[in-house]
Amino acid sequence: MTTRVLIVDDHRLFRAGVRAELGPEVEVVGEAGDVDSAVRAIEELKPDVVLLDVHMPGGGGQEVLRRVLGKGSPVRFLALSVSDAAEDVIGVIRAGARGYVTKTIGGKELTDAILRVADGDAVFSPRLAGFVLDAFASTQAPPIDPELDSLTQREREVLRLIARGYAYKEIAKELFISVKTVETHVSSVLRKLQLSNRHELSRWATARRLV
């Protein structure tokens, strides 16, 4: 069974480019160019994965996430953006996206990332991993909820390897664990990133408005 994908981006050229690059494992069921039509298309087409642009007229990707996930939709989002601003990256993840990749990603990697998100796993680009490490390390304040507000040693190791440019398979080999375990760690980090309500996280992202 192929994975059904909806592409949401306000640049028509970019949508066409992505469509052409994706492998046969995924099927593009539709496209949308702004927030309203994206929300409508998601409701009608019920795709497995939405490739979501962060910057769009009418509130951007975060607005789509808010409106769709607010209704308890099971659809999964993979954020795709040219922006490397920490604010955008952390913002879209905390709004509910399961992963974040930059638009420079190759077709093969993007296809893999889509399949991974469709399976319920998280997709971290090296840059996102760096942001997360930075955000969780940047504060000396004691965590409010130790389970949610700090990363385990293992999670930190996994994130470091992602930041170093390792693929999940390479990480598994490096740490002598299975790929499934790597995925579990990354998903756990994603959960912490989304649920941790420490204010430092948002404040850090805002303060660091740059790459």
Partner: protein, 403 residues
Amino acid sequence: MPDKPPTQPPTASQAADAPYPRLRRPVEGRLIAGVAQGVAEQLRLDPVVLRLAFVLLTVVQGVGVVAYAALWMFTPSVPHTGPKPARDWAQLTAYAAIGMALTALTMLTVGTLRGFGTWAIAVVGIGGLVLWQQADSLRQRWVSGAVRKVRSSWLRTAFGLLLVVVGAIGFLAASGELAAAQTGLMFTGVVVGGIAVIAAPWITVLVKELQDERRERIRQEERAELAAHVHDSVLHTLTLIQRNAHDPREVLRLARAQERELRNWLYQPRADADRTVAAAVKRVAAEVEDEHGVPIEVVCVGDADLTPRLNALVQAARQAMVNAAKYSEASVVSVYAEVEPEEVTVFVRDRGKGFDLDAVPPDRMGIRESIIGRMERNGGAARIRTAPGEGTEVTLTMKREEP
């Protein structure tokens, strides 16, 4: 809305930067403080006329001295570099002599000039001059800058106004017309008040329009700057890309370089490019990327000030990037720099063809000297992990404190 920058009317004056010649005291050719000369330049008269006038006024109960002193106080002097030119003492003596002669003459004849009236006229004159010299470019830009200008120098303006008013009242009192003038003044006051009431809404609208206009001008300037930037960088790069369309490597290089530049411009307002480890790593990565046309993805966590040892680390990392870009044949190089409380680590990784570390000839300076040697000399360590077909990862570690 008319949006025209304030044009500078061509004046015959020496001051090209001021829209209107501002009363200033020149240093060159002055006799006492340059007041007479300054006023003469302002009025486009010969300084001699002004000097004689001051002398004459001095004779009349010393008014000239007061006027001179007031103008001296309120007038800035012309900026002058170098040694101050000597005064022409002969001329000064001549004026002094004229003054004394006139004084003597007045005393002998008990002139009809004496009286309170002349004082009043003199005071009005001084007040007017103070206001005038205050006005400066104000008359030219009355519509746009007047309000702020007056506010910033309201003390002087008030002083000038006070002098004028006191002088006027003094004149009326001296000529015995004060009582008669009272009704007239009342009438004038009422009329002016009435006009003010009528004009007030219009004036507020005018002021608001002026503010809007200024804001719009600032916005337009920003837009112009943006346009200039886009033109100089983005459009230029696009032209180069079209011209190099046959060379994918060059196109890639141009696009990456432009992307990086634009990102810096958009997201990095700070200019301290080389003060920290993260900034330095990003910079050398950009340089290598430009030189060799291989994209280098940089991720930095944490940051620290760049010390000489950390700079050595960055240079070693640069060499590792160069090697990866030149020899690995990988399509992308990953760089990860992490600053921790005790140490800084940089990983340079490629998924290229790799090599056999033991088979590297001893004269290959790139790895042995520029990477391993440099790190060890500075108290750090370099680890290279590679095998043919496995890609390469160079790990550079440097302690942050001096050993």
